[in-house]
């Protein structure tokens, strides 16, 4: 705590945290429902995770261990600066290991390592309204949620198939929560959608600019929308990670030179690193050297 003299614990004042916690409780009570909350100005621009940071600040305790990822990586600017922000304002422990963390704030990914009970996954959400691009009026979308009037959601998927021959939505793929609310899983790739279903961890979603919070309590039923003759299919890759050899994980394409060289590596850096460490300790193949 030595570096946090001038701030309240975790930056936000206690009244604000209470307000956000109330919104979180309501969100947990109604899975998938967007709860309005009085989002605060944060010392970072909108789009950098102001919603997620406020949720994290409100659930953070002195004995928590925080992990922050951006597109699966622990070492990108956004992840590093948010981690540093909480180190400074809350003096809490941070980690890059998924299994060591009690709270994980994320942008765009769910870690490959399965989450467990007691962990909290906090999503940064830019646009919480799944119906937004079809229906610009907030009054109307709220009514559609209230009345479960969700025909237009399938119109979007219909349009995808009509134009591309298959459902071409690959991220922010809409889901139905607990058989009731349609929810935007934030811009995570649809690859991660199945991980949301029946997840043992608590999942919280914060949208700072749009001032909305929503949640998936542990073990909530989450179904990706589809058609009977065009079922939902998570993204698959025809190769493994070039560094750790993992298959069935989400891969990032990395350009390695200016002559068309490229490689596909795990987007989850912690997962990839721990796999490689494990190999080296066990005297296994060193994929990095082999490459």
């Amino acid at each position: 705590m030595s570096e946090a003299p001038s701030y309240n614990f975790a930056y936000l004042d206690e009244q604000t945290k209470r307000m956000i916690r109330r919104a979180l409780l309501k969100a947990v009570a109604i899975p998938g429902y967007q709860v309005p909350f009085a989002s605060r100005e944060m010392p970072m621009p909108y789009g950098w995770g102001t919603g997620g940071v406020q949720v994290t600040a409100s659930v953070l305790g002195a004995d928590d261990t925080l992990k922050v990822i951006d597109q699966g990586a622990d070492d990108t600017t956004n992840a590093v600066s948010i981690r540093k922000f909480f180190e400074r304002t809350a003096g809490i422990a941070t980690t890059t290991h998924t299994s060591d963390a009690t709270i994980i704030q994320t942008r765009h990914r769910i870690p490959e390592t399965p989450l467990r009970e007691g962990q909290i996954l906090v999503y940064q959400v830019p646009i919480p309204e799944p119906l937004r691009f079809l229906e610009p009026r907030e009054t109307e979308t709220r009514r559609q949620h209230a009345l479960e009037d969700y025909g237009i959601m399938h119109v979007k998927l219909y349009e995808d198939i009509a134009r591309h021959g298959h459902i071409a939505t690959t991220y922010a793929y809409p889901v139905k929560v607990d058989g009731r609310y349609i929810m935007d899983p934030s811009p995570t790739p649809k690859f991660d959608n199945p991980k949301m279903n029946m997840c043992p961890a608590l999942q919280l979603f914060g949208a700072g600019r749009e001032k909305r919070i929503y949640a998936l309590p542990p073990y909530t039923n989450v179904v990706s929308l589809d058609f009977e003759d065009h079922p939902f299919e998570p993204t698959t890759f025809d190769r493994g990670c070039a560094l750790c050899g993992s298959e069935g994980v989400y891969l990032d394409e990395v350009v390695t030179d200016d002559r068309g060289g490229r490689m596909f590596v795990c987007s989850d850096t912690d997962f990839c690193e721990s796999r490689r460490d494990g190999f080296q300790q066990a005297g296994g193949t060193n994929y990095e050297a082999r490459r």
């Binding site: 009037d149 119109v155 003759d229």
Partner: protein
Amino acid sequence: MTAPPDRPLLVAEGLTKHYGPNLGCADVSLDIHEGEVVAVVGESGSGKSTLLGLLSTQLHPSAGSVRYRMRDGEERDLLALGEAERRFLLRTDWGFVHQDARLGLRMGVSAGGNVGERLMAVGWRHYGRIRSEAEQWLDRVEIARDRIDDRPDTFSGGMRQRLQIAKNMVTRPRLIFMDEPTGGLDVSVQARLLDLIRGFVNDYGLAAVIVTHDLAVARLLSHRIVVMRHGRVVETGLTDQVLDDPREPYTQLLVASILQA
């Protein structure tokens, strides 16, 4: 036409709507039977569109009631329906064709998506079946099948109106509301649209309430006519009777002011 069933489909009684101190329409009572087309005519500001809004429950009346015989035969007070039920009624058993197609269609969504929307809203989840149903309805409104993936903003005015009708007809409604459906269309396109509507009325036993200021449209389509002025009904009766032998001075004036081509 077959003989109308005993009980009317929709019964409006004493419908009154005030907009603040201004009168929208006053004390309008109206029955609509299955398979019957009723035209509401009158000059601009006579309360036609207000009446249409009241009948279709999009406006809430200051006084009066609207009752509707549901598909299960039960008569319900529409003003007492919950919003979910009313919306369901609007997108299954009813249709609404707007003068401005942009109000009735999603301009950013393909023709097929527009026609399929109601089907998806009532639970259709099979893409192939939705699409083939949409294709059939495009056929019926004489839009080429190969335009199914085009957006309505690439369509002409007449095609947009026909697409609106297909979009509404896909759930086989029993009652359709039309607000100046031929407004802004040239005469040959109008004729084609009127022909289409008349065909649907005959083929599907569709009932319709058509608001128009065009007496020719009323004469071609409607069985009965309601003449409105200053928010009140001045005359009502069989269309040919009212238009050929108008009783009220205002109706006489209206009929006399048609240009003879």
